[in-house]
Point group: C2
Amino acid sequence: MMEESQYLEQFKKMLESKDMLGIKEQVSVMNEADLAELLEELEDADALIIYRMLPKEKAIDVFTYMGQNRQINLINAITDKEMLALMEDLYFDDMIDLLEEVPPTIVTKVLSASTPEERRKINEFLMYPDDTAGSEMTIEYLSLKPEMTVREAMDYIREYGEDSEMVYTCYVVDEKNTLLGFVSLRELVVADDDTLIDDLMLEDVIYVKTLDPIEEVAERFQKYDFLALPVVDQEHRLTGIITFDDILEIIENIDTEDFHRMVGIGGDSDDDYMEETPWQLAKNRIPWLLILMISGTISAGIIKHYDDIISRYILLTAFIPMITGTGGNTGSQSSTVVIRGLATGEVELKDVFYIMWKEARVGMVVGFALAMVNLLRLILIGTDIGVSILVTLTMMITVILSKLLGALLPIIMEKLGQDPALMSSAIITTIIDALVLVVYFNLAGLILTKIA
Amino acid sequence: MMEESQYLEQFKKMLESKDMLGIKEQVSVMNEADLAELLEELEDADALIIYRMLPKEKAIDVFTYMGQNRQINLINAITDKEMLALMEDLYFDDMIDLLEEVPPTIVTKVLSASTPEERRKINEFLMYPDDTAGSEMTIEYLSLKPEMTVREAMDYIREYGEDSEMVYTCYVVDEKNTLLGFVSLRELVVADDDTLIDDLMLEDVIYVKTLDPIEEVAERFQKYDFLALPVVDQEHRLTGIITFDDILEIIENIDTEDFHRMVGIGGDSDDDYMEETPWQLAKNRIPWLLILMISGTISAGIIKHYDDIISRYILLTAFIPMITGTGGNTGSQSSTVVIRGLATGEVELKDVFYIMWKEARVGMVVGFALAMVNLLRLILIGTDIGVSILVTLTMMITVILSKLLGALLPIIMEKLGQDPALMSSAIITTIIDALVLVVYFNLAGLILTKIA
């Protein structure tokens, strides 16, 4: 296999020398995903030239693999006739995803070229709220009837299977389209020709509802390892399926969202760093930083409150960044472990006391180790013994306190029915900063005035 | 579908009243993944009772879904005969995963009960390094020969398909087992009975090598949307396959690892928070916190260096947490976006200048907004005008500086061939802390002494 950058160089050369035959030859052997990546790298005009040289079947697959921005640019560049042909050949869910993003003029063109039945379906799909099972599902699935034999079912698959995004799991429905069960293509292939689907199908179908949040759908996939999940409406009628390849992308987006939330960038899973303007990026990041700054006022207030002792012991100032830094980082460690554990389902809400107890013990071990190293360091560089003891004690308390809070705060968010990832490190750092400063200065008052 | 907690209550009641018939009935209708979850919640003895009531086929699937700790406990509890029967029926990759974790006595028992051929394969698999394609692959795949007809291929699948983890993609090999191409079950079902596999197969196979890191395998899956990828050795011979359900888990583990690295917890993707002792957890977290503390010495040194100006303007102390906090959080935001972008492939190394320029602009917008709000706040609460200007200016410089550094540091790690997620927030915070303190105090020297 060639590397992407080599492909790019090769195509640029061929485009320059107008070597259309070479291009045609090269695209015919390349994989669809690689071609899509190549088209993303090229200028609009060049991408269009190469796209038009693809055989029709391949062109559609390549289009599906491309990023949304490239897709929209391409749609705007091709003729109306080409665009309508393309839309017709896309899988239904891919077409809906695209229609949600293109200019209204294109939606109108597509709708007016559709049959009334198609128009009804398109409108229905465009109405499912974002990030629900309904908005991600496809209608290209195979449904069998319980009274079919395996032979009839296989004939049916042979006839209609070419058009279906996922033929490996077939769903069984009654005449009202109520979901009754499922049967895998593997079982069909292995089974006797005369067996009834009714006898072969499994009735314990795991399904999702059209309005279920997409996060729950992703969790189901991770738990059950299915190739596809059926989506049913309120009356338990089969309305679509969601396939594993869509889920890979959704899981990636959910994780990205969690990463961003934890550092206090709201953002949407659909947003794309490379394509957003600095203004949009700034808009996502400012709110949490503002909260952080306002809370900086609290820290400032606390420090001002103790300016009496600070002016007597200027040295105290030197350890403020270390103490707040340790608190913030220790807290983030615990909260990250808990937030990630809750997201993957490894940690459950009922484990709250177990987790707190564990973090407390981890805090004691870590706190003691850090405090001892720190004491040694302070004494070695010849710090005043009173200050050394003060900083060492504060470090221990800081670590234990922030481990506990770091674990507790995301759990409280989850208990309140909120996304624990919203409990970003910024908020945790803020709360911990204020607490450890109070501890630090109060201990300073106790220890230093006693010793002095 | 019933909720998990309801199942648990129901089973506990049935176990108490020794209602074996009720248990048998209930397990027969439950899904394997749900049963595994149930067994994880129960005590060892109770889990064993229920496990033994499962029909043999179902028992193996349930076992596969269980967590490794529960698996090992169960293996230790059942008889040798039961254990060997279980091992025999497990898919090869699941058996290898298990053998890597169980006590050596069990490995010995399994090896001595195996045929020489099996023994050779087991030993070979146990030798693949962790986190390579070889260590995750399974040998249960279907391979066809190019000279077979579709009819012969389907007969072959009917005969051997029951035992194969993934029948939906069949690989085509020559007599030396060299990988020639692949054909999907869907194409076989739709194709004419007399077509030759040679004419049907696609030759442009995307494959991985036995020693490829598992991260690369996961990226291939995300890019190409395949159900399975073939694994070949140095001589391009097919040695196994990796299936999409294993990949879902691997992607989850890689992301968890990234989350943990970013907050400075080393840890292994296989480690399990709920099952680790506080000692192990502490051990993972101490190294970075130590680095952080040692670097705290730098901040302390900087502050001590400026104690002259601090003692004249004690108020300066009050803003230290806000400034270092803003720097740390702003830096983490940029680094998280870049690290995540690099991990998902959305951001590429060659985009480095583009990213720096974008982050600089984001920094200017965010910095200006924050600085203005801050200036207003300081003036409203009646802070000295010199200090207000100083803090406002420092905030602006801090935000721009930390946005740039936050984006640059992970990119440098990637350039050096290291995992960018290793550039944890702790290190970024440390570097930024030191820099912004120097800026703060130098500006203070300039502004305050001029005004005074």
